[in-house]
């Protein structure tokens, strides 16, 4: 049960949110793209081990989409930011001791 910082409502349990995969994949101008480029937009999303800038929507709360840095190994939560605002830097690497909770 992740504890997710909704920029509008504050910390809320994961079950109030829906996931939206990689953040910042803009809808391209479809007619300028080759099939291959279009397929990439349709299907390819970042899947890194470590910090991932991803989208969430607080569907059971304010209903707003936002972006979040989250670590896919440790589940550490980094900063959240609103769409079309400046993306914060990825948090630093985790220490040797294990996850910060």
């Amino acid at each position: 049960m992740l504890y997710i910082p909704c920029p509008h409502c504050g910390l809320r349990n994961e079950t109030e949110f829906h996931y939206g995969a990689e953040a910042g994949v803009a809808y391209p101008e479809p007619n300028t793209l080759t099939d291959s480029e279009w397929a990439k937009y349709l299907h390819i999303r970042a899947n890194p081990k470590g910090w991932l800038a991803e989208r969430w929507v607080h569907y059971a709360g304010c209903g707003r989409w936002f972006n979040l840095w989250r670590n896919t190994i440790t589940h550490e939560i980094g900063p959240a930011w609103l769409p079309f605002t400046t993306k914060p830097k990825a948090p630093g690497n985790i220490g040797q001791e294990g996850p910060r909770v």
């Binding site: 992740l2 504890y3 803009a26 479809p30 279009w38 989409w65 589940h75 996850p99």
Partner: protein, 891 residues
Amino acid sequence: MSEISFSFDDKSYKGHPGEPMAAALLRSGLLTITNSTYHGRPRGVVGLGVEEPNALVQLVSGTMESMLPATVIEVAAGLAARSLTGIGALPDHPEEARYDKTNRYVDTLVVGAGLAGLKAAEEHLRAGREVMLIDDQPGPGGHLRQLGQELPPALREVLAHKNLTYLCRCTATGLYDQNYIVAIERRSDHLGNAAPANRARIRVWHIRADQVVLATGAFQRPLIFANNDRPGILLSHAAATYVAVHGVRGFRTAVVATVDNQGYRDALRLHKAGVTVQGIYDVRPGAGGPSVDAARAAGIPVRFRATVLDTGSNTAGALDNVIIRDLDTNETIQIAADLLAVSGGWTPIVDLATHIGIKPKWSAEHAAFLVSHTTDRLRTAGMLAGDFGGDDDPSVYFGPALDEEQSRHAYIDLQRDATLHELRRAVGAGLHSIEHIKRYTTIGTAHDQGKTSGMLTIGALCQLNALSPGDVGTLSFRPPYVPVPFAALAGRERGPLSDPIRITPLHQWHVEAGAVFEDVGQWKRPWYFPEPGEGMEAAVRRECVAAREGVAVMDASTLGKIDIQGPDAAVFLDRIYTNMFSTLPEGQCRYGVMCKADGIVFDDGVTTRLGKNHFLMTTTTGGAARVLAWLEEWLQTEWPDLKVYCTSVTEHIATIALVGPKSRQLLQELVKDTDLSKAAFPFMHSREATIDDIPVRIARISFSGELAFEINVAWGYARHIWERLWALGAGYGLTAYGTETMHVLRAEKGYIIVGQDTDGTQTPYDLNMSWVVSKKKEFIGKRSFQLPHLKAAGRLQLVGLLPGNVDEVIPEGAYITVHNAGPDEQGKTPHTGFVTSSYYSPMLGRAFALALVAGGLDRMGEDVVVPVGKNLLRATICDAVFIDKENLRRD
């Protein structure tokens, strides 16, 4: 305290309320509790708590939970249990106990109410924080309790602090991300017959804590030697506690085998309680400290560099003698004893920390894996952090060298009957990883999850491969820390509460009318309305005829409804739907299809333009939530420049569909302020009106091809409108119909149901709906229509099917083969599509179907075969519109 009776394996025993059942059994002289799972060897109590590998019982009283250690069951009035050989049973009568769940947010959660935990709680309380303290024992004190000692007054004050919540019998079962802890509190078993009937037996706590302190303590570990599993061989701390605190008097002569000073303390407790301690056999070359001095002062013989090698049993299988080996000379001696108390060092309880990926670190000084992890949100305390208190100076030692024969009865995991011999075989088979060895031997997989056997496995591997435990690493512990009953996790989410039930404002009417319901998502929808003695087929035929020839009414309130407003609403809908909505005049309705970006149809429905900047969208019943989410996603994350606001109004607006040639006449009787005539109120138009002064919105929308009106009304007024229709409808033969009739009527007209006539692979073109795809504008999914496969020939296309036998309703889902096709040599029959919707049409007087057929739109008139079981049904491909191709009936 007075004694009460309880039952074990059908015999009556005496015990003190609240003491462990294991203590009462031992006091009564019952050494052998059960036989082992695979080897059938007699086994008795070993430990003090959840680490117990042997004394597993099933409750026969109360809820009959399938498996619990007798060391944690408290004696209570009415307690009855039976022994298990490591295999539980599931009685099939209903479990009626109550289970509940609760959530808690606290500043600090302390796990473990031993000295370390109490001190941590005190610190956090002093800092003004709200503290929750949970502990799996019946009372606070941890180790002190086991010594039978009172808490110091200062710590008793901690427990009384107003900002402290202390829960006993509450076990933290898992530590999860962001300091989320799941704990189970056992609330009624210890009260036995006296438990209030309505008290939840177990409460599951979901705790979110700003800070967590893990003060989980440690288990004492056994040693590996030959025949180390006999009844009468106990962990020394357990043995001393049973004797000194619980008054177990059956043991007369004890031998203590130790690697640390704990053995001396326990020997002294045994001695003081009147047990003759024949000797302390310590693997170390020497030892000092107050514990050692005290044992020696009491006259207990001590021998260094010696340990237990083997044991012998009496005829009952219990311990009779102990064979001691001198580790320098290898000489052995035999000593008669009915108690062997083993102190193999301490294993701090690292489980919770490892749940979130913290790796324990080996400390040779402590002969233990420790977690000294500290962040600003999580820290450890007490033995887990390496604070062992006393004067222990443990040796890293797991047992003497054993030959092959001895190793066959040197148990590492008592519950799994897994021996040193098997571990050696695993290593011999080429396995190095402790995870492989666990899987090969099954060590650590039983009810106790390796609480004592885990470290022994690591120790045995170290001995074999001359490694340090730090090189081997710990086994991975997974939640839960102790087994949790399924019923506790289900909580109150049973029966009708297992998932919300959504009903329309007309539901009660449907129930009273005898409707048969179907589940559509969480909704209950009337499927059909049988009259007395009528089956589904007859009911549906009657309902269909009423809709086509008279007037019939359906509750369509489950349709998803989204109110869309804003200056850019029309532009927005143009991008969402494949067809144009900006050209839709106010007061009119249009059917629309929406695709995902991959070009695949994902929902459809009729949208009405209520004003220049105001639309009411309808969606499929099942699609309502995901369509709204889809609209919001695009608005918020792609087109923030569009001023559009979407609001779900599904449960604000009820929808009544009045269908049939007589619908206009009936409705006009109710609607005085609006002319419903064809000329005044054309098809696909929408009007505001009133019925009995109740505002309604009426639309000429038809999902049947019949003359039809959809009446939208505020949810709370729906029953009134519905009743009024029925009051007047008697003279018209008004008939209620359900979803099945709706399906027949719409299929007769070739109207699709997304999800039934589509399967997540159809474009609008595949559904013969090129007319709904605008060539003039961009919309979501359009680019994908250009992908090679989406424009390829031979795609499945929506067509009609007429069965050769007019009475034969072809089963939905049946596949269509070409003429004379049979199985090939691999037993596979090529097919050319499948039936999506199939019904009997009273209007056509025959069965008919919709199907998706490869290249079907170019195959009109072709005969095909539909194999159903052994039967080959014949059918002819035809247009998907079966009734009123000219659309004359709808007016």
